[in-house]
């Protein structure tokens, strides 16, 4: 092959990003080991892997937050040094973080020009940004009100602002880190349409995620990472979720936990005409009724923010409500002295909350301190009338960590040092091992690895088979469909209807979640 031809070919077919032999160690931990990828321009490349597999480290190296110990970065055929994020931006790389970096009380426009203001006066930059924003909005379906303040925007819109920020800085390579983690299904769909448009316009996108469905839905090629190594790069069209899951975890994974038919017993939970009005006098739950029987999982589907969180909180004892809730036939206090978490636990209600970071765990507490959280008054945790039996609790925690496969099994480690899946296992161990009559579970697998999802689902089904009632709230329709014995759909504070999983499908549930009633049986 003659050299001239060779260079010519490279000009047109140079990858937008090529990483060669990237390695990075933090102390003894090898976060990235000899990683090489090529991402062609105008494609969406997925990087999938469990938490801690090294995806974020790799992207941080690409964005100049970390310096690789070895390896090189080649952008559009040119070897490039990226010592800091400014250099990354100059190289045309834009990053949308999982946790947005926006000034809450600035407007969209102000956030967009932040750091790239031209001159001492803001007005020229602002009007320039306004023009190009209009342009971008039309081109990519990225419409946001430029004068709205960030704090007034929904999470989905805030994310669009982050994308706009990158595009305004002339990024042609966009990295998105777990972009759908905070989005509702509808917002996620919209995001994917935006990404589709961006790809059509020739932008290159790297999508970091641990959700198989997203990879299958939108990417052209996908790289799988496991324990710091790139285990495979395949064309999305030529792979399957099962194969990817296996590559991620290193063993065969059940994406759907097998479960036998439900064997419902006596009614455990009976809710009638429940209403919740929040601090701003907005009615969050508008008179709903539900029942759950022993040995049954009731799944509540719905886009988040339609009253499911409030429902869990009312039952968990930290949200006031009116109406009637009965546990095993006995009324529970919804407003008075006995409407707190302690009273609920005493009535046999255990609660795996939606937000384990804020509610389910005290992140600075050690695992053993978290293992009794909420049950700290139980007699078996006291040494005598004065002090707690710390040594005994540590010992019990060791046992629970083993039974629930929490890794690393170190009771003294602070909760914040565990991965998402292991944090969730700590919460789950605590709540399930109390052998409750009713288990409330909110978003059990949010931010949890595939391997751990299988484990968590198994435990929930086991609890049902042991004759307990389970109320499952999840925004993942897959999860609702595979775990529930009955499905109720919530929309705008109301129950839109109940379905049996065998007699419904994602499409019907999706319509109900959007507030479209099929049979008019809304409560």
């Amino acid at each position: 092959m003659n050299p001239a031809q060779d260079t010519g070919r490279q000009e047109t077919a140079a990858p937008a990003i090529e990483l060669r032999g990237i390695s990075k160690a933090f102390g003894p931990v090898q976060a990235n080991k000899d990683i090489s990828i090529r991402v062609m321009p105008g494609t969406i490349h997925g990087i999938i892997g469990e938490n801690g597999a090294g995806k974020s480290t790799l992207m941080s190296i690409l964005y100049g937050f970390y310096k690789a110990d070895a390896g090189e970065i080649i952008i559009h055929g040119r070897p490039t040094q990226i010592p800091d994020s400014q250099a990354a931006i100059r190289a045309g790389i834009g990053m949308v973080f999982q946790h947005f970096k926006l000034v809450q009380n600035f407007t969209v426009l102000e956030n967009i020009i932040l750091g790239v203001e031209e001159g001492a006066l803001l007005r020229p930059s602002l009007s320039k940004a306004r023009d190009s924003l209009k342009h971008l909005a039309e081109e990519y379906e990225l419409d946001v009100d430029p004068d709205a303040r960030i704090e007034e925007l929904s999470v989905g819109h805030q994310q669009r602002v982050e994308i706009l920020k990158a595009l305004y800085r002339q990024a042609d390579i966009l990295i998105l880190d777990e972009p759908t983690g905070v989005l509702t299904p509808a917002e996620a769909d919209h995001l994917f349409r935006i990404l589709d448009n961006l790809r059509a316009q020739g932008k290159t996108i790297i999508l970091i995620t641990h959700k198989l469905r997203e990879i299958m839905e939108i990417t052209d090629t996908v790289s799988v990472m496991r324990r710091g190594e790139m285990t495979a790069t395949v064309k999305t069209a030529e792979t399957s979720p099962e194969q990817l899951a296996e590559l991620m975890v290193g063993r065969k994974v059940l994406l759907h936990v097998p479960k036998g038919p439900a064997n419902p017993g006596a009614t455990v939970l009976e809710i009638e005409n429940l209403r919740v009005v929040d601090q701003d006098k907005v009615e969050r739950i508008k008179g709903i009724g539900l029942t759950i029987r022993a040995g049954e999982i009731l799944g509540i589907a719905g886009v988040s923010g339609n009253g499911q969180s409030e429902l869990l909180q009312v039952l968990g004892g930290y949200c006031r409500a009116t109406g009637s809730v009965k546990i095993n036939g006995q009324e529970i206090d919804l407003t008075g002295k006995h409407s707190d978490g302690q009273s609920r636990r005493a009535r046999g209600i255990a609660h795996v909350p939606e937000d384990r970071h804020h509610h389910g765990l005290v992140l600075d507490f050690a695992a053993w301190e978290n293992m009794i959280f909420g049950y700290h008054n139980a007699p078996e945790y006291q040494k005598n009338a004065l002090v707690m039996d710390n040594a005994g609790i540590v010992e019990k925690t060791e046992g629970a960590m083993e039974r629930f496969d929490v890794r690393p099994p170190i009771p003294g480690l602070p909760a914040k040092s565990f991965s998402g899946g292991n944090q969730q296992k700590i919460v789950l161990a605590r709540e399930i091992e109390r052998n409750p009559d009713l288990l409330l579970v909110g978003q059990p697998t949010r931010g949890v690895d595939i391997g751990a999802i299988e484990f968590i689902h198994k435990r929930i089904v086991e609890l049902r088979d042991a004759g307990k009632a389970v109320l499952l709230v999840s925004v993942e329709l897959d999860e609702i469909l595979s775990l529930s014995d009955r499905i109720a759909v919530m929309f705008d504070g109301r129950i839109m209807g109940e379905r049996l999983p065998a007699e419904t499908n994602e499409r019907e549930l999706g319509l109900m979640m959007a507030g479209v009633t099929g049979s008019g049986e809304a409560a």
Binding site: V362, H376, N390
Partner: protein, 363 residues
């Protein structure tokens, strides 16, 4: 950001902060024509070089232990109690009322009674800001500061108008009965071999040590302490667990106020033997620095209190025996507070850079 090794966090950070405060103080001493070397010599010999010096250093340290513990307990519940000064003064009122109420036969009976008086009065003074914070959402920092001023005004009023014995010129209570006199280190068998009779350090020091142990036990071994720390780390998590925020704020602030108030048995009962104006003499504020420097742990508080006791006593000696004015003591304390408290993160950041560079060099 990489975390510092634990030894660096616990030992190196405070040490460097101290050295920086000392360095700047030395520059100031040079600038006003003094000799920093001599100043250090006088401070060390004056505070630590004799049993007499130790008698004062430990006396000051005792007060600082109480106020430092007070700040720490509130801190663990997420409350910043900077009202230790006022709570200590009101605690002094409690001590005075108890001591003057009866002709106490012996200090062993008077001491527990005075401790209760001091604790209750200090707690009561903290109760109002605590209630306002728990129920009405007012900011504890603002209210506790205001209560410092109210306390000192109240004490002055009471001393002038109510408690002053007829015919006495200065605004103070009557002298406490002899039976309420606490033994000083010079009067305790064993210790009297080393300490002369007229040092102010007294049995309260041992009460302070017991308080350190008690606070440790409370925070890390009891259910209440568990709940206080859980609430302090995360209010939403506390709500989820059924831990009442109102109760945690109230209980932690009452304990905090009680500890600050108990400082009064050291200075009012152990030393002055009557209640004077401004009895706390700033120890309430020093407690904030002590707690910050001691990382809100009783052992740290104890060590930091010793350090501030040394600064206090050494500074007084410096004012006495050198041409350097005693006001420089305030500068020194101020700098220590500035560096250990406010500029803590600066030192931490610099050390972080150092340790990262070292880690890179090793890798």
């Amino acid at each position: 950001m990489d975390k510092l090794p634990r030894w660096a966090d616990v030992v190196l950070v405070p040490l460097i902060s101290l050295l920086m405060a000392a360095a700047i103080s030395a520059l100031v001493i040079l600038a006003i024509g003094g000799d920093p070397v001599e100043a250090v010599k006088v401070m060390v010999t004056g505070a630590l070089g004799s049993a007499y010096g130790w008698g004062y250093t430990l006396y000051y340290a005792t007060s600082f232990i109480f106020t430092g513990l007070a700040v720490s307990v509130a801190y663990h519940a997420g409350q910043f109690n900077i009202g230790g000064e006022g709570q200590a003064q009101i605690g002094g009122l409690g001590v005075a009322l108890v001591c003057l109420a009866l002709p106490w036969p012996h200090w062993t009976i008077a001491l527990p009674a005075a401790m209760i008086g001091a604790g209750l009065f200090g707690a009561a003074w903290a109760a109002i800001p605590a209630y306002l914070a728990a129920k009405r959402g007012s900011h504890i920092v603002i209210t506790t500061i205001m209560f410092n001023y109210i306390a000192s005004a109240l004490i002055v009023y009471l001393l002038v108008e109510v408690l002053r014995p007829a015919g006495q010129m200065d605004p103070a209570t009557a002298r406490f009965p002899a039976g309420a006199k606490l033994p000083t280190f010079g009067e305790i068998p064993g210790l009297s071999l080393f300490f002369s009779k007229n040092v102010p350090a007294n049995v309260t020091f041992f009460v302070a040590l017991a308080a350190c142990w008690g606070v440790w036990l409370l925070l890390w071994r009891t259910r209440l302490g568990y709940q206080i720390r859980a609430y302090g780390k995360s209010e939403p998590a506390a709500l989820y667990a059924g831990i009442s925020p109102t109760r945690m704020i109230m209980v932690s602030m009452l304990i905090s106020g009680g500890l600050a108030g108990m400082m009064a048995i050291n200075n009012v009962m152990g030393e002055a033997e009557r209640l004077l104006q401004n009895s706390a003499e700033g120890a309430g504020f020093i407690g904030i620095a002590v707690a910050l420097m001691g990382r809100n742990h009783p052992i740290g508080v104890f060590l930091a209190a010793l350090l501030f006791g040394f600064l206090y006593q050494g500074g007084a000696e410096m004012g006495l025996w050198t041409t350097i004015p005693i006001e420089l003591r305030l500068l020194l304390q101020g700098l220590v507070i500035l560096f250990t408290g406010a500029l803590d993160n600066m030192v931490r950041m610099m050390l972080g850079i150092f340790f990262r560079a070292k880690a890179k060099g090793a890798a």
